[in-house]
């Protein structure tokens, strides 16, 4: 298994002086291709902040994110935007689908940003909708779909640019337990592959069984890494 990305002593604080909160404190870890890595921990422990730094969304105050041997945050803003577009797929907690576009158009957005011509982007988007089992929903607006279906549209959009790294923040937070489990097991079976690394932030212990490794955070620090499955952590 190759290394997908490496975080080195990542540190992020917000505010200055007395108001300063250390959200992430010297966190180092590696994520590998072919694995599902969980980040768990209490609310406010810095999980989202950490996720944002490794995915090119939030600039760290200190430390590095190494991808393909290069320091991500040492590059230009345009290069970082390219990284987000080409290498990373995001599944946001509230999906952030465009209600005024069709489901297929939503999925096509990363392709359109990559300058794939409109018709081809839509054809490819339709194929990704098939991957997530929504082949017949392409022309509907996303709000006509159920929560779990919208989640799958968000996944289809995240994988449309065929990213190396997939990032999920609380993917099951707004789904009922059953649907949540189904989604993650589906991701493990159909979305994960040997060239891809998936990082999931979650509170939801019902989906721990799908993790390969589970990182535990507390107060901005990494307090332990355990193997996944049904182990206690």
């Amino acid at each position: 298994m190759g290394t997908a990305l490496q975080a080195v002593a990542l540190t992020k604080w917000f505010g200055e002086g007395d108001a300063r909160t250390l959200a992430v404190n010297r966190v180092s870890f590696e994520a590998s291709f072919g694995e599902i890595l969980y980040i768990v921990g209490p609310s406010g422990s810095g999980k989202t902040t950490l996720l944002s730094m490794i995915s090119g969304i939030l600039r760290p105050n200190e430390g590095q994110v190494l991808v393909e041997g290069r320091d991500l945050w040492n590059q230009s803003d345009d290069a970082i935007a390219e990284f987000r577009l080409g290498k990373v797929g995001f599944v946001f907690q509230d999906y952030h689908l465009f209600p005024r576009l069709t489901t297929a158009e939503n999925v096509a957005i990363p392709l359109i940003l990559k300058q794939v011509p409109w018709d081809e982007a839509l054809t490819r988007a339709q194929a990704f909708l098939e991957v997530v089992g929504l082949a017949d929903k392409g022309l509907l607006p996303p709000l006509k779909l159920s929560g779990g279906e919208q989640q799958r549209v968000a996944i289809a959009r995240a994988i449309a640019s065929e990213p190396d790294i997939l990032i999920f923040d609380e993917p099951t937070a707004s789904l009922d337990g059953d649907t949540g489990r189904k989604i993650v097991s589906f991701v493990k079976e159909h979305i994960l592959n040997a060239q891809r690394c998936i990082v999931i932030v979650t509170h939801d212990s019902r989906i721990f069984e799908y993790a390969d490794r589970i990182m535990n955070m507390e107060d901005g620090r990494l307090t332990g890494i355990a193997n996944g499955g049904l182990h206690e952590i």
Binding site: S52, D78, F83, F90, F92, R100, L101, L113, Q115, D169
Partner: protein, 383 residues
């Protein structure tokens, strides 16, 4: 590295805008309203200005000599006869003729009185004569002969025909011709034409009688010299365009007309701007998270700016087209019902409204862009 995904993102921008039907309609209506008001206002103004110079345009002389204090055609100041003689002897003058212009009371058959503009044409040349719809121009030399202009005020003389008779200052008058003119007057009274000498003898006059002296120069190059020579006499020689300008300036600056129209135009602009800027702002706000998500996914700042500029410009231009169309339609209908409807759309009106619409689009998109540029994808990510 400088990838900008045109035209795909524009298509997305278009769909985001147009698929939000309610908001898009509100945006269109706001701008359309402003464009419509502005065009109606300035067209009415343009029409009135054109009419205020109706006599100047209808007579069609190339150079007009007048008292410098004259600022509109209705209130002329007669000039002594030596001015005419002096004008004729200025080098470069091909010929110069007097024009009589005054208002007289006409007594109609039923005994009612009606004011009318009387224009007296030089007896020898009839320079400035109107185009006749009926009758023969030579009949103007006949006894008591007058031409009547068939415009919207025509009916105020009881729709006279050839041979109709009336009284003018205790003289008999007889219609020998019915004329057509290009531009109707502003003052709402009918217009009669006769010869200069008959006008002078029928209508009580001051010592001097020539309201204007019409000059045909030998060539356009002679005009400045003629103007200088006339100025030395203490009078003013203006080309047709300059005279029209002078009359317009009078109505714009000396009467409240210009200020009022300007005010109304500014108000319609302000109303349109605030409605559309506000609606556009809410539109951006409602889509702000989505723009943030686009940024997170990897859209660059300038791609988002392009989307917003496109949305604002597209809305503005569509509304402009609709506004111009609506104004044109309304004026066409109005003209069918009121043959003498004054409003007139000029290129200047259209250009003004266009500039206004561009400003509305620019300000609206600026507000949106400031907002979108400031979104942090991290905040979207945190939810």
């Amino acid at each position: 590295m400088s990838r900008v995904a045109v035209p795909g993102i524009l298509k997305i921008a278009f769909k985001l805008l147009v698929n939000d039907r309610g908001k898009f309609a509100a945006l269109l209506v706001g701008i359309l309203f402003a464009v419509f008001l502005m065009i109606m206002m300035t067209s009415m103004f343009a029409g009135i200005l054109k009419r205020s110079s109706a006599t100047v345009l209808n007579v069609g002389a190339r150079v007009w000599i007048m008292d410098p204090a004259v600022n509109n055609v209705a209130s002329s100041i007669p000039m002594p006869d030596y001015v005419l003689d002096a004008a004729r002897s200025i080098p470069g003058v091909k010929y110069a003729v007097p024009l009589y212009s005054s208002v007289a009371l006409v007594k109609l058959h039923g005994g009612t009185y009606q004011a009318a503009t009387v224009i007296g044409l030089d007896d020898a040349s009839l320079y400035g004569r109107p185009e006749l719809l009926q009758g023969n121009i030579q009949d103007i030399y006949g006894e008591n002969a007058f031409l009547v202009v068939k415009d919207a005020e025509f009916s105020k003389l009881g729709n006279p025909g050839l041979g109709s008779e009336f009284e003018i200052n205790d003289h008999r008058g007889k219609i020998v011709g019915i004329a057509h003119v290009a531009t109707s007057g502003l003052f709402g009274i009918p217009t009669l034409y006769t010869t200069y000498s008959r006008a002078v003898s029928y209508i009580p006059s001051m010592r001097f009688t020539a309201a204007f002296i019409l000059v045909e120069p030998k060539s356009a190059a002679d005009i400045p010299r003629i103007q200088q020579a006339v100025a030395r006499l203490g009078y003013q020689a203006l080309t047709e365009a300059q005279f029209v300008q002078k009359v317009s300036d009078f109505y714009i600056y000396q009467t409240g007309l210009g200020t009022n129209v300007l005010l109304m135009t500014i108000i319609s602009f302000a109303v349109g701007l605030s409605i559309s800027a506000q609606t556009f702002y809410t539109f951006i706000l409602e889509n702000l998270e989505k723009f943030g998500a686009l940024k997170a996914i990897g859209a660059k700042g300038r791609e988002l700016i392009l989307m917003i500029l496109f949305q604002a410009t597209f809305t503005a231009l569509t509304a402009y087209g609709l506004g111009v169309g609506l104004a044109t339609l309304l004026m066409t209908v109005a003209r069918l019902r009121l043959p003498d409807y004054a409003a007139e759309i000029t290129y200047l009106n259209l250009a003004l409204a266009f500039v206004m619409v561009l400003i509305i689009a620019a300000i609206s998109s600026l507000i949106g862009i400031r907002k979108v540029i400031r979104i942090e994808p991290f905040d979207i990510f945190r939810g």
